[in-house]
């Protein structure tokens, strides 16, 4: 991970920018976090619960999908 401050700004050396950065980093360092295992489990559960409602995942019959062409019917 790149640890250097942005070098694109002309004024990255000025005090106003540095103070803002310090304040922002303090805020970010202090937020509440959860473990990746818990976050991953939640993502998996969401997928599992909603999978059956996902037409692109499950595939729905052509008759129900307005974009899929319906097979032509032959009248006997």
């Amino acid at each position: 991970m790149d640890q250097t401050m942005s070098s694109k700004l002309q004024s990255s050396n000025n005090i106003a920018q540095a103070r803002r950065t310090v304040q922002q980093l303090k805020l970010e360092a202090n937020i509440e976090r959860i473990k990746v295992s818990k976050a991953s489990a939640d993502l998996m559960n969401y997928c599992g619960e909603h999978a059956k409602y996902d037409p692109l995942l499950m595939g729905i019959p052509a008759s129900e999908n307005p974009f899929k062409d319906k097979k032509p019917c032959t009248i006997l």
Binding site: M1, D2, Q3, M5, S6, K8, L9, Q10, S11, N13, N14, I15, A16, A18, R19, T21, V22, Q24, L25, K26, L27, E28, A29, I31, R33, I34, K35, V36, S37, K38, A39, S40, A41, D42, L43, M44, Y46, C47, G48, E49, H50, A51, Y53, D54, P55, L56, L57, I60, N65, P66, F67, K68, D69
Partner: protein
Amino acid sequence: MCDQTFLAATFGPCDNCSANRPLMNIYLKNEPINYCSLCVELMACQGLAPGETLASLKTESENLKVKLEEERAKLHDVELHQVAEKVEALGQFVMKTRRTLKGHGNKVLCTDWCRDKRRIVSSSQDGKVIVWDAYTTNKEHAVTMPCTWVMACAYAPSGCAIACGGLDNKCSVYPLSLDKNENLAAKKKSVAMHTNYLSACSFTNSDMQILTSSGDGTCALWDVESGQLLQSFHGHTADVLTLDLGPSETSNIFISGGCDKKANVWDMRSGQNIQSFETHDSDINAVKFYPSGDAFASGSDDATCRLFDLRADREVAIYSKESIIFGASSVDFSLSGRLLFAGYNDYTINVWDVLKGTRVAILFGHENRVSTVRVSPDGTAFCSGSWDNTLRIWA
């Protein structure tokens, strides 16, 4: 498309010392003011605590960055794809182009679905914005913008208006009328004004507010009726290329990605930058929320797509292959969040298994870069727009 003019100084009398100098356009409590750079420095120095110098602030910020990484690493106990090993693998996917929408004279840059699941608005380099009926491929409305490179377009939640903008630095809203003969350009309303190109726009939950992002490095929230700036979001250090609103009606956050390789999470009400993710190696071209709102995916010029979890505050998955060397321009999730559709500059669309991190399909068809990929609101199909001037509906 990254130019560094967003900090371009204007020249004139300083609001503070009245000397004629190059001015910096800054915001104090959301009010724009023009101070010369000397006065900006003096103002910043006055707020310094004893013993604070530029060097000490820089060391402090470096230390804080290290601390931030340590805090994040403490909770990194497992990888997403390891947890996902017990999930069933996906079968073969057969997705074909079901409709091809032809009519743009030049590169298609942006598309958006209407909530009615059948209409699509698309904008192009030639300055035209077209509203299509995706079922029949008919064009319902066409607007000619006064500028080329219309990089952003959005459908209003009600379906009664569209917003678009690009090199004109503005976002304009056009109410759509049922009368096909009516000249849409006559009712145009200019809502947003930036100091550089408009890269993305989106209506919030209603037709009344629009969120925009711009090459000037800022995002902004506007009231459509009055054109007033409600909130501005500063923090990116280069062009902002993309934004996405939280999916739930009650969430007040949105995400943005830019040429500074950062993806930022913002609080819409306070303008505060809540979280920032900087793991990409190049410009972030697209960001999209996971359907649950707890995570988001990003696509970048570094040829990877990544998944970031907001509650774990870190990147949890990376979607890449050695054979993929072209940048990803656009990403979108399927309805359940299991599939990630990503459009690339090598003319293909790759479909990724979000949980396992593997690619499940690669879709060919476009004859030039894929610039935008959007799943329909009911998840039955997705639409891709490309520099080959066409849109394709896949299902």
